[in-house]
Symmetry: C3
Subunit: 131 residues, 3 copies
């Protein structure tokens, strides 16, 4: 299993981690299978979406902040329930097939770490599974 760190840049902030995931696949001798990209935190998530136009993830961030507002009444005393809920909605992991030694991301797809309670140092695990 490969582990790498990500320093996130804001309360709600998205980091493109595609290169680190591709490197984890390249560092291992795997031809066919899949990569599990896993976030071991409870207030951050992982998602796959467009990486070409940075405005896409800015729209995603704005939408999530409005969908899960800070100012609802929450019971959890730490005050970061919106971050917990947001990470459940995006999910905390993603799977990508590997075929012929290559990570099969679609043409526009990048892998993102979605920070919802930052800025913080976060860990990401990449585990490779064989066909």
């Amino acid at each position: 299993m490969t582990t790498f760190s990500v320093k996130t840049s804001g309360t709600v902030a998205t980091t493109d981690i595609t290169e680190s995931v591709i490197q984890a696949v390249a560092d291992n001798d795997i031809q066919d299978g899949a990569a599990l990209i896993y976030c071991p935190h409870t207030t951050a998530g992982i998602f796959i979406n467009e990486g070409a136009d940075p405005d896409v993830v800015i729209d995603v961030e704005a939408f999530m902040k409005e969908l899960v507002p800070r100012n609802r009444p929450y019971r959890h005393a730490e005050g970061n329930s919106p971050a917990h809920i947001s990470s459940i909605l995006t999910g905390n992991s993603a799977m990508v097939p590997i075929s012929g030694g290559k990570l099969m991301l679609g043409r526009w797809q990048h892998v993102f770490l979605a920070e919802f309670d930052g800025p913080r140092n976060r860990q990401v695990y990449v585990q490779l599974l064989r066909s």
Copy 2:
């Protein structure tokens, strides 16, 4: 890895792809493991839910259109940010266990491709992973 195409039928439209997934498992000699069903696009998703009553996915489509409205102010100039956001909320892949050579979908479960920016021709990948 198996690849198949889906021609979607509307802007927001759900296609039942269960038979193609079952066929991909049947075409391979796998007894125990899991199937990864993967959508390589950024404005469509994959989800698993009820396939018996077609009204269920109609309710899902109506809900998603209301949850992620077209008329919010978005920055992404292509105008399809709601489709990008919707695909993040449903997710762009699903995993189903395989046991005794059989895809272990529950009694009412079907696998769906969720189109959010169609109609288009879409690709779906099915990668089998062994226990």
Copy 3:
């Protein structure tokens, strides 16, 4: 594949299933790979989030009930469309890496079955995949 049952306690109710998942890993001789935790139902989901403070999942439940209200007009005659939609939003499965024989949940992460149309008896599958 391991199967276990969960008796859920309310219409919308969250059950911590972490111990059963850890047991399924311990019962099998697997060193490196991942666990797929799978819900074969269409009105319940699986998610990973904080298990230390029980108020976190109470906030999640309250949020989901408000996000997917019972009183919208739905077509599905059974009246449980909100439960179908909620299970799509949380997802019906989760993946967790296994490394050195250990399930690699983060410090605060627990695995939860999210009931959206209970109380009922539910099944959960755990399938182990090898690196």
